[in-house]
């Protein structure tokens, strides 16, 4: 329930009373915002009094009689504070005067209500103004929320970049001061750690660029038939050496080519992220099973299953958000950008599909996604955040 303050400015007590009576218990439902709107009425008997009251408690809607004993309604209109929170003014005129109407419009009056009017006419006019006020407020709140999310993203991003920099910095200091002596070999551990942290920064920056490309919708997508088996095969090749270090088997289960209309780069991003996660969060000697199936209508289903650390239901709920990397004793030595799954989710959404995770702690996780073929490319890529409430 949204309650809007309405101020009636009229020197006739009967008129003010009439407005009170008509609007006091009036409510209407605004479907666009899914809320009821009601009113709180304040009365002012003169233009001077109205300006005082507006200063202290600005109304959302001002019902302003033009003909007042001291300053006129037009005078009041001219003196209204031109603040951020706009006041919508409905001018009440005793007779239809084109001259006043034109002047009032210039001064920013929103609507006119000719005297005499019925309660129904008053309600209609106020409802129109109120809908506009509420919708404008919602739009402002939404913009504010978007800005807040953006700042939060940048704040976390800054921290994610600062931490590896600080680590590398501290190792370089040690090297520079020859803390362990002149033998280079003594610093191997630190050089290795530095490399790891630099790799982490690089991954983060690449993910960030991927994300920006997807989000901006400006990247030229090349939609063509893409064989997902081929995509998965190159992705597996890419991860093979890292998997081999930890004796993790990478298996691909397919019945033949699975061709879908898609942008190859986007398919690469999806498979690379899912398969590299399956390796990273696996246990030594574990397995990764990648399965791809055509759905018969030009789409595809894929799943990537690992035998890794798994996660709790709570963790699963957070998983697809930005920087949602699950931090616990199993993951603290695993480096990730925290953006991979968020990117995958955006892409899958662009392809009209969805992505789910099924996971059991200490047993493993299975990510399953469905993809619909992309439309031939003439319109720019659909903004992922339109389809996906939590993305931004």
């Amino acid at each position: 329930m949204e309650t809007l303050r309405v101020m009636i400015v009229d020197d006739e007590p009967g008129m003010r009373m009439g407005v009170q009576r008509a609007l006091r218990d009036y409510r209407f439902y605004l479907p666009d915002t899914d809320c009821d709107v009601g009113f709180e009425i304040i009365e002012a008997e003169s233009g001077e009094r109205a300006l005082e009251l507006i200063h202290d408690t600005p109304p959302a809607i001002l019902l302003l009689d033009h003909k007042l004993p001291g300053m006129t309604g037009m005078d009041v209109l001219e003196r209204l504070p031109k603040g951020e929170e706009d006041i919508l003014t409905i001018m009440i005129t005793a007779y239809a005067s084109i001259e006043i109407a034109v002047k009032a419009t210039k001064e920013g009056a929103y609507d006119f209500l000719p005297k005499p009017f019925t309660p129904a006419e008053l309600k209609y006019s106020v409802k129109k103004a109120a809908s506009r006020v509420v919708l404008a407020r919602r739009a402002r709140d939404l913009a504010e929320e978007k800005r807040r999310v953006r700042f939060e993203f940048i704040r976390v991003l800054g921290h994610e970049l600062k931490a590896p920099l600080a680590a590398v910095d501290s190792y370089l200091d040690l090297l520079q001061d020859r803390t362990l002596g002149e033998t280079v070999g003594k610093y191997d551990d630190m050089i290795g750690r530095s490399r790891t942290r630099i790799d982490q920064m690089r991954t983060l920056i690449i993910d960030l660029l991927d994300m920006t490309k997807i989000e901006s919708g400006t990247r030229v997508r090349e939609i063509e038939p893409v064989d997902l088996v081929d995509v998965a095969t190159s992705s597996i090749e890419l991860m093979e050496s890292r998997a081999a270090e930890r004796h993790i088997d990478l298996n691909l289960h397919v019945d033949g080519p699975v061709v879908i209309d898609a942008d190859r780069t986007e398919m690469d991003i999806i498979f690379n992220n899912l398969i590299s996660n399956a390796v990273k969060y696996n246990r030594d000697d574990g397995t990764v099973d990648v399965t791809i199936k055509a759905t018969g209508d030009g789409g595809a289903r894929l799943s990537v299953a690992d035998t890794g650390i798994g996660m709790t239901k709570d963790d699963q709920a957070k998983l697809f958000g930005e920087f949602a990397r699950i931090r616990n004793r199993h993951t603290k030595h695993i480096l990730g950008s925290g953006l991979g799954l968020s990117i995958v989710k955006r892409l899958v959404t662009i392809y009209g599909g969805d992505i789910r995770v099924n996971s059991t702690p200490d047993v493993g996780s299975t990510f399953s996604a469905s993809l619909r073929p992309a439309e031939p490319e003439d319109a720019p890529a659909e903004q992922a955040d339109d389809a996906d409430g939590d993305a931004e």
Partner: protein, 135 residues
């Protein structure tokens, strides 16, 4: 280190979940003549304190939880009231939450004798350790 004799061989027990912080600080401290035991989680912290009988404890605030360090400081002071404790934190730069152990009152609720903000300068850590050891 010409005048570091009283601190030579003293044992520093250091808790931090950041392996790079541990490796870098341990290397420095050992080069400065300290004996360093580094631990990357607060599991079995009390047992470790009992076993290593450290001369100084260095604790990171945010480990498994955002306030793991506070809990650990509290437990350490309960176990060994005279043990000097340095709390290391990235909180101030990350969240804007600030606290210190500059006054007696602050020390009484933080349960630490010094607070260092990350990124820390090694010289500052060393100076605090030596100060607490000779106090």
């Amino acid at each position: 280190m010409t005048d570091a004799a009283p601190t030579q061989g003293k044992t520093i027990l250091m808790f931090d979940d950041d392996p790079d912080f541990l490796l870098a600080q341990k290397t420095r401290l050992e080069a400065a003549g300290f004996n360093v035991v580094d631990v990357d989680s607060s599991d079995n912290a009390e047992q470790l304190i009992r076993e290593t009988k450290p001369d100084v404890l260095v604790v990171d605030l945010m480990m498994e939880n955002e306030d793991t360090g506070f809990t650990l400081c509290y437990a350490a002071k309960k176990l060994m009231p005279e043990l000097p404790v340095i709390l290391v934190t990235g909180v101030a730069s990350e969240t804007g939450i600030e606290f210190d152990a500059a006054t007696k009152e602050e020390r009484s609720w933080v349960k630490a004798d010094a607070v260092l903000a990350k990124p820390i300068r090694f010289e500052q850590l060393q100076a605090d350790i030596e100060h607490l050891l000779t106090e």
